[in-house]
């Protein structure tokens, strides 16, 4: 299995997004596994701030050189911020997917939905199962 960084303090969706509790809001991005699978990211399309998201909704797309991939909301809530740096430099998702390469911030989150996400150990197994 290839080497993937999976921080222990994050929660993960089965669509390979991570969620970080940032106090007032929850930050969302894609995992190291996802960015490695996609390869060179060249474009990220995100919705307007204020958009309401339901868990599982497609909220945008992320494009690598070769392919277009949908982004799915790992939790429900209201979009309170997007990472504006990605417009000019989408490659920061490749460079640092867990910090500088965050995608969106979600507020008004139901804490029970966080509990439904995978923890780091479960996500590591989930990645390993697909990455023989």
């Amino acid at each position: 299995m290839a080497d993937y960084e999976i921080p222990g303090d994050l929660r993960f969706s089965r669509e390979d997004e991570w969620v970080r509790d940032d106090g007032e809001q929850f930050l969302v991005g894609i995992s190291d596994y996802a960015q490695q699978q996609l390869g060179d990211i060249v474009f990220v399309e995100l919705p307007e701030v204020g958009t309401s998201l339901a868990r599982g909704d497609s909220f945008g797309v992320i494009e690598s050189v070769k392919a277009v991939s949908e982004l799915y909301a790992p939790i429900s809530g209201k979009l309170v911020a997007i990472n504006g740096d990605l417009e000019e430099r989408p490659e920061i998702v490749n460079e640092n997917c867990y910090v500088d390469g965050w995608l969106i911030a979600i507020g008004d989150v139901d804490p029970s939905e966080i509990e439904m996400l995978l923890d780091a150990d479960a996500y590591r197994r989930y990645v390993a199962d697909r990455d023989e």
Binding site: G39, D40, V42, F43, E63, V65, K66, V68, E87
Partner: protein
């Protein structure tokens, strides 16, 4: 991917950590490190591609040359041994069966390189359309093929081969020893950069591939996958069969006029190509650059004032230009540099401007360079 075919250099790809994907029934490396890095290496130093999935079909017999002359959109009889000619194979309706390169081996022998996805189809078509004693043979499985591309290709080739590679002219080939193995080496490629293509026996494939990479590392050579191959050929505006070319498309619609010699010739499809030209084509291939953000991709509609008028055939980011580029079939009146249209990206109109192609003009300094119709790199697969 157990049911897929593997190339002779397969183990080398795995060893070097390639991501393997299915392509045309083969398990092929799409990238080793990053498409962008491999693309840049080819433009600035050199990249080595395993293109053993491509097919080779030989003709060896008294009627080999007259047969080839009837199959290709350009004359083959005038090609001297050691010469190469790119052209199209067309059906009776003037649509493209495949785009190929013919290599003249000897007085009555030649072979053509065909697209991986078309090998079986082209072989059957060639057999059906050959004169008796043309000696048609599909040698694809016996052959390994590599593309060494980029400005450092000459230095790499000089280091591993027996002959003076630097003196080889574009669209010529020679028999050399490469990494101690018998090889046929041509000054051709599908990237828009200078370089060579190397044909060896399948049994020598892995050794040639590995030796080239080991010897070339000092010159900046890296292994490069199908991902970079596609972005490179798109920057060079080279057509890809199944995208810009198919059995309904006339080569003239695809802008390949200089590879179609109609005067005084009687190749398969010539009459239909003439008739379609005289009736007037209703579409032409246009190169475009996206003015806005986003990425244009194959099959996205092209629109003017909200009305669909065409379709993107290939599109993607240009690592060299840092912009999104593409090719599209549009009405001929629109396919003129400076004109504008919209590419519909997920339902949203994104403005684009028609530009001259190739998108990227790459210097290919070499001695005795011929200009004119042969200046365009081979365009297969």
């Amino acid at each position: 991917m157990a049911s897929l075919k593997r190339t002779p250099a397969h183990i080398a790809h795995v060893r070097r950590g390639a991501r393997m994907v299915e392509f045309a029934g083969f398990e092929m490396p799409v990238q080793y490190t990053s498409i962008r890095e491999e693309h840049t290496a080819v433009r600035e130093a050199a990249g080595l591609f395993d293109v053993s999935h491509m097919g080779q079909i030989g003709f060896d017999g008294p009627t080999a040359i007259e047969t080839a002359d009837r199959l290709l959109t350009r004359p083959v009889a005038s090609l001297r041994p050691g010469g190469i000619r790119y052209g199209l194979l067309c059906n009776e309706q003037g649509g493209v069966v495949d785009d190929v390169t013919f290599f003249r081996l000897a007085e009555t022998a030649l072979f053509m390189v065909v697209n991986a996805s078309n090998v079986e189809k082209v072989y059957r078509w060639a057999v059906r359309n050959s004169a008796a004693d043309a000696g048609v043979r599909n040698t694809s499985e016996e052959t390994a093929m590599f593309a060494l591309q980029g400005p450092a290709s000459v230095a790499v080739m000089q280091a591993v081969s027996s002959g003076p590679a630097a003196e080889m002219r574009r669209y010529q080939f020679d028999r050399l020893e490469v990494a101690g193995c018998d090889a046929l080496v041509s000054r051709t490629g599908y990237t828009g950069s200078d370089g060579f293509e190397i044909f060896t026996g399948a049994g020598d494939g892995e050794r040639v591939f590995e030796t080239l990479l080991d010897s070339g590392a000092a010159h900046g050579l890296v292994p490069a996958g199908l991902g970079a191959r596609d972005t490179l050929r798109l920057e060079a505006a080279l057509p890809l069969y199944g995208h810009e070319l198919d059995e309904t498309t006339s080569p003239l619609e695809a802008g390949l006029d200089r590879f179609v010699k109609l005067e005084g010739r009687d190749f398969i499809g010539a009459d239909a190509i003439r008739r379609r030209r005289d009736e007037g084509h209703d579409r032409a291939l246009a190169g475009f650059v996206l003015d806005g953000r986003g990425v244009a991709r194959a099959d996205y509609p092209v629109a003017v004032d909200g009305e669909t008028v065409g379709v993107v055939t290939s599109g993607g980011p240009s690592p060299t230009l840092g912009r999104s580029i593409g090719l599209a079939y549009v009405p001929p009146s629109l396919a003129i540099a400076g004109n504008r249209f919209d590419v519909m990206i997920r339902g949203r109109a994104t403005p684009a401007t028609v530009v001259e192609t190739p998108f990227v003009q790459v210097g290919t300094a070499r001695p005795n360079e011929r200009t004119g119709p042969e200046r365009r790199p081979r365009a297969t697969d």
